[in-house]
Symmetry: C2
Subunit: 396 residues, 2 copies
């Protein structure tokens, strides 16, 4: 437990933090409209404008509706109390443990027709459970995501990667879902490593319930985090909004197993949009839950997704110098140390009996001079046997 006391929120900028935490409660995370407002006025004044009636429009109306007649100060007080009661922390961009690279999220908006693609801005606040500083925990991290309905193969791949990355000191980030996510978290814990579950609901009611024991272990040894305040239910859209944070927190995202329609593909897309390493694990072409991975790997070069088949491959994408994956041996040297003429001579020696240099040269299609020059050396090196100028194959 190395959490400095001041991170609980006693610093000079308390007013700013309060505003952020209230904004994070009143407005659904990622909002482009809120981001513009906060950028223009700062969090304190932005909150004031939203709650005083100075701003109009859906954002202000929704925020006012959620305030339910309370003052912003009252709500802030209640949120702090709730955090203390539940034993959770809440941080904002002003906190020392806020990961600076979340700010990259401002750049990925595509201004598409859907709010899903427009509302990709950074969180105002993040709620946490666990004995680690978020910025430190994610400094060297990889996101492993994938299908809920995974196969045994996918579980094996997620476990291999999660265990191997955690064992090498990399934090494994995922979404806490059934299937691939849960396997990745568990593998990291099994390796004695660090894992971060980024939830789409309150950290006090992690979803799904069947992963409760896992969430408790993560809260004790890793980090459970969420943009949504305690008590928030996991709505469908929130998973998609949350995905941008999984992609932004790490140096790269690996899609382990995914059907054509898997939401995990959206996380990989966010990673690409953010300039993070985007990776996918191949699988059998007969598997429905590798279709999404294969489609990602078929993207054109301007939307690169790298095939990864091992921890080393992942480290090559996200790691620094010294993490290059060794290329499997072979292919470059198909002749096992013989030059092509030597190989052709060896092959031209009959499988039974023996032959003189001339016949070997004829069959090999090389000059007698080359045959006479190379056959003795081949015999000397044990590739052939020589007796009275006649060559045969060595006994095995």
């Amino acid at each position: 437990m190395n959490i400095p006391d001041d991170l609980a929120g006693g610093a000079d900028d308390r007013q700013v933090r309060d505003a952020r935490i209230v904004l994070g409660c009143l407005v659904e995370p990622g909002s482009a409209a809120l981001h513009r407002l906060v950028t223009a006025y700062g969090p304190v004044e932005a909150l004031d404008r939203l709650t005083s009636g100075l701003e109009s429009g859906p954002l202000a109306e929704a925020a006012a509706l959620r305030l339910q007649g309370r003052s912003a100060a009252e709500l802030a007080e209640r949120l702090w109390e709730r955090a203390a009661r539940l034993g959770v922390r809440v941080i904002t961009p002003e906190s020392a443990e806020w990961p600076g690279h979340l700010a990259d999220l401002r750049h990925i908006s595509r201004e598409g027709p859907s709010t899903i693609d427009r509302d990709t801005f950074p969180p105002q606040s993040v709620w946490l459970r666990g004995p680690h500083l978020l910025a430190e925990a994610v400094a060297r991290s990889v996101s492993l995501v994938g299908a809920r309905a995974n196969t045994v193969y996918g579980a094996h791949a997620a476990a291999e990667l999660g265990y191997g990355l955690a064992g090498r000191g990399w934090t494994v980030i995922s979404g806490g879902a059934y299937g691939i996510d849960a396997v990745a978290h568990r593998a990291a814990l099994a390796a004695g490593g660090l894992t971060v579950a980024v939830l789409a609901c309150g950290v006090d009611r992690p979803y799904p319930l069947t992963n409760s024991a896992l969430f408790e272990q993560i809260a004790e040894e890793g980090l459970l985090i969420s943009e949504w305040p305690p008590g928030t239910a996991p709505f469908k859209l929130r998973f998609l909004v949350r995905n941008r944070v999984i992609a932004a927190l790490s140096r790269g995202t690996v899609l382990v197993e995914a059907g054509a329609r898997s939401g995990a593909r959206q996380t990989l897309r966010r990673a690409r949009e953010l300039g993070r390493a985007a990776m996918a694990v191949p699988g059998p072409i007969t598997s429905e839950v590798s279709v999404g991975c294969h489609e990602e790997l078929r993207r054109e070069p301007h939307e690169p997704v790298r095939l990864v088949a091992s921890v080393e491959h992942v480290l090559e994408e996200v790691g620094g110098v010294g993490d290059l994956a060794p290329v499997p041996r072979g292919a470059q040297r198909p002749l096992d140390g013989l030059d092509p003429v030597e190989q052709q001579l060896v092959d031209a020696v009959p499988r039974r009996g023996s032959a003189h240099a001339t016949q070997i040269a004829v069959d090999a299609g090389v000059s007698l001079r080359d045959a006479l020059a190379k056959l003795p050396s081949l015999a000397l090196r044990g590739h052939l046997r020589e007796q009275s100028g006649s060559y045969s194959r060595p006994r095995r």
Copy 2:
């Protein structure tokens, strides 16, 4: 059987063809030195210079050794006789059925230190068994290659691709080896399609022996072809030399399954060097014989190898207009026709009981105006139930 009589070799350029066939017998195929000589002098004079002592060096010496004191005319006569006796054809670039795109082979030389990489020039002649014209047979063709020691998965993938391509009128080219090659040939035959086996030995003694029944069927329904004259044994180097022809004959090569050191990877490399489509089938990362495929798929964008998981994917690489593979549905529309605000509203309706518009708007984080505008439409479309202004989830 639609083989014109003149293709057996009775045309005006008989002298040129004879020279080519003799050159194809005296010199190992692919030779850069022979290619230079033939380009400079034409086949007839090139042969004359090689056999008369006008040329010196290893090429001339090896050729003279193989001639074994006979004249070139005598050897030509013997080769034609042998062809007639065995019921095989032999063609040269002068033949109507010679595939013109074999000439692309002249461009792929890298002038590396190894003769394997230097000797990548077109055949002087090709020996054939089978009731088809080679140029027609390979006009729309794909090469399927892979490991000898394949897995059940690899066999399944090769069979799917071979059967599907042949069924759509594409010729399947392969090397006649154990494993993936044999499966690809058999699948094409099973589909009633055309298949071409490119051998590294004489067409009268196809290797391996255990594929004999398959070779007989290919000779009857497809094509068995080889650059080497009848009687030639399959040396190790010859498989590698032969690979360039498998790559050159087709519009693209698919690596179905391959270990790190598989010779089939060299065929894929030749396809790339020739500007043909280079493709690989992914597989489980736990499989030793998918390692080569995955390494190929990990190449940098300037050495493109495309992941293919279906016949449609292959056709997209080699086919013309109308052959584009359909992208698996999904991913683009994660919300099943609801816009994000609608989805959020639906999710905010409690799972048990009902709620009024205001509470739903609060939980969804949207304005009351949006909630009131959209909730009735959602009820009308059956996504929600409405009773006295209160909304609940529809019964399943």
